[in-house]
Symmetry: C2
């Protein structure tokens, strides 16, 4: 997974350290769980959140930085992300994640529940070690809560044909953008940048996170199974109605109503038909525009960062991430 | 549930405040989850852990105490306990808890996974508010981890006929005694007792927790279904071999081997037969002696506490809790 960072050798080296730190953290008495978690940690995640964290930290005053602390916080963000993925896969009954079988389908829900819990614990342990006494501890607690409330929002609006763009935005703001926000704002903070950059960093992270999730949801309607390494149209089958569908539905509500009324009895053929209709009625097109807007805002804010190698890499990374080909 | 505390009016009043604080904490946007959690919080837990916490706090210098902080820490311990119960019920597929249907059987595993997660978050939020900057934050993180490792140990040794008293002790030390330890040691600490009492408090909590769990496991072999309000012999059916069985098995391994070899295909009749054999071969008797030993140690340590109303109530409570009738 770290091959994603071949163009960013400094970050690649640092992520290697984060990776080892995570692996170290996952040493537990129970060997099943340990192997499960180490497998999962190595199974192809890009470590985007720690990467953004480390890049924003590079903007700060290196003479004042505590490198050990930085690596711990970077690892904590990825661990929190991993925990939420494992529990989401239980709730979604997902067979695949990152092209490999999920923890819950491989080891069962028992292991998956506790494996996720253990990661929450490791997250908590790491940030306590790294920042006890800082008000950022409270910010992490609040962030973890918003992450979870985002998941709950998504679960709550399943099969809800009335779901609005605002509902969707609220959900992805929690479930995805929150951790990008946290990564960037904490990178700037613990990297010892000034307060203005810290606020800007948070704003950039928020916008990157929203655009990232919208593109991810678009892929569900456009990628073929092989490319994406996860079953397509999974969200649709689970009643998670994302932005492309919401936009297309606004255009032609009556066409979608009869399909969506079938809820989880939608057949694969019908789901494919819905996907075609989403494209036909401009849902994908509009969602792309929506994401581009957030990407633009992020890039404009990045432009305001002080000139540096880190700024160049943040710009490059953000473009690479958010200007995918469709 | 607070009727359990009719003989302890001061504690009863304080637990009422803890209860309200927990309810306040559980206000979330998602009304399903909120109701689920408030139902669960009110469904008959005795609030033993916050009670021990508050009693040990009363031993300290009240002029130096921060009451708001004390209530927050008391609530945090109960919330951590609730979180672990909800996730345990998923893993155990338990239909009943405290005589009422479990979160997972009532609302499904999706809600139960996130409901437990949300409680971990609330725990984290409360202790961060209450003690950011204190080394007790790290102690809480470590404690949460040991709690989870205890659960994992238990899951890991399921259907293991070779399980020893040491394995059992390690598991209950984590899954039960840890939180009693935490409640008592933190009560003494945040109640501003002196360091010696703090250490003693932790020791008392540890021993009370172990005895409490052993008695609980004995009940599985002696209580009838009506009394206990949970299906008896559940642990046995799930392959959780507790102390009475371990002791009886040491006495007559060959008699138990053929039953246990059936693993989760043990019928109800066979499980009842095993339970009878456990009594016949002295497993219950020996487990009681084992628990009495820990109770005695706890009571001897309690004797060393400074004379006070709190000491009287700790003594009374511990006897009430650990000298159950069988």
């Amino acid at each position: 997974m770290l091959s994603y960072w071949n163009d960013y050798p400094t970050i690649q080296n640092k992520l290697q350290i984060v990776c080892s730190l995570i692996e170290e953290q996952l040493q537990v008495r129970n060997k099943d769980i340990q192997e499960t978690l180490i497998d999962f940690a190595k199974s192809g995640g890009k470590y985007l959140r720690p990467a953004y964290f480390l890049l924003f930290a590079e903007l700060g005053d290196t003479t004042k930085q505590n490198q050990k602390q930085l690596f711990k916080v970077a690892a904590s963000i990825e661990i929190l992300h991993m925990a939420s993925l494992i529990h989401d896969d239980i709730v979604d009954d997902s067979p695949l994640r990152r092209g490999t079988i999920t923890v819950q389908s491989k080891y069962g829900k028992d292991i998956a529940v506790y494996a996720g819990d253990l990661l929450f614990t490791q997250f908590f342990e790491l940030i306590t070690q790294a920042m006890n006494g800082s008000y950022y501890l409270g910010i992490n607690a609040a962030s973890m809560k918003r992450l979870l409330l985002g998941e709950l929002d998504q679960m709550h609006t399943r099969f809800n044909q009335q779901e609005t763009v605002e509902d969707y935005l609220r959900s992805i703001n929690g479930k995805t953008a929150e951790l990008f926000w946290l990564a960037c704002i904490q990178g700037a903070h613990f990297g010892k940048t000034d307060k203005k950059i810290e606020t800007l960093a948070g704003q950039i992270g928020r916008n990157v996170g929203i655009a990232f999730q919208v593109y991810d949801d678009i892929l569900d309607y456009t990628a073929d199974q092989h490319d994406l390494q996860k079953p397509i149209l999974e969200d649709l089958a689970q009643g998670v109605y994302t932005l492309p569908l919401i936009f297309a539905k606004e255009e032609k509500p009556e066409i979608f109503a009869s399909y969506l009324a079938k809820k989880n009895e939608l057949s694969l053929e019908e789901a494919q038909k819905v996907a075609e209709l989403v494209v036909t009625y401009g849902g994908v097109q509009k969602a792309k525009k929506f994401a581009q807007n957030y990407t633009q805002n992020a890039l404009q804010d990045i432009e305001k960062l002080p000139e540096s190698q880190a700024k160049k890499e943040i710009t490059h990374l953000t473009k690479q991430l958010l200007q995918r080909t469709f």
